[in-house]
Amino acid sequence: MSMFRAKKFDLGCFTNIKVIRDHAKRKAFEAAEAERQALRYIIRNTTLPARTRAIAQLQLTQMHCYTRPTQIRNRCIFGGKGRGVLADFKMSRYNFRMQALAGNLPGVKKASW
């Protein structure tokens, strides 16, 4: 969904369409988060009239799928891979190994005992 993308390309890491898409989703979620939380509050509040809550439920489900936090997936910043990504380092396991062995990750060293 190109309308969620930045008008000017703004990524400084490895890019492919999946990374661009994920980045767009993150920004869309950030923009809509307050609205989503407000709707979620109305839905969860049992003291409000049932009709209001039902309307809020509908509105929440009808929001664009890019504004959902579950659409966001951590991807590798070196290769764009979506699986085996170490969240602490934002890298896939292979790239993590390469960077760690090259000494680019402070405090990471190969275990041996």
Binding site: F9, D10, L11, G12, C13, V19, D22, H23, R26, K27, F29, E30, A31, E33, A34, Q37, R40, Y41, I42, I43, R44, N45, T46, T47, P69, I72, N74, I77, K90
Partner: protein, 105 residues
């Protein structure tokens, strides 16, 4: 020795006032836990590193000092394209609507 419920409720009310929490002895679901959550959008949106500077910005930055920097990768690319063009293997020119007929089908 049992404590009357009214007294316990008073205690609860006083505690809520003191720690500025909502007094809700029946445990009615008011959705307050949603309001208590922190917004995680900024943290999620800053996951990927942003582009800091392009090579062109870098060149522009040094232009006032009359220092010229060559972008080797860009020069290589242009050279490669020139070589292709010389052999007649370059990319075709973009089709223009006005001159000539539009492609059939």
């Amino acid at each position: 020795m049992s404590v009357p419920r009214a007294r316990l409720l008073d205690l609860l009310r006083a505690r809520c006032e003191l720690f500025s929490t909502t007094f809700n002895p029946e445990g009615v679901r008011t959705g307050n836990k949603i309001l208590r959550q922190r917004l995680k959008g900024p943290a999620l949106a800053s996951y990927y590193p942003r582009k800091i500077m392009t090579f062109r910005d870098f060149q522009e930055e040094f232009k006032p000092l009359e220092l010229e920097i060559e972008n080797d990768a860009e020069l290589d690319r242009l050279e490669h394209i020139a070589a292709l063009k010389a052999r007649g293997k370059g990319t075709p020119k973009k089709k223009r609507e006005k001159d000539g007929k539009a492609a059939k089908k």
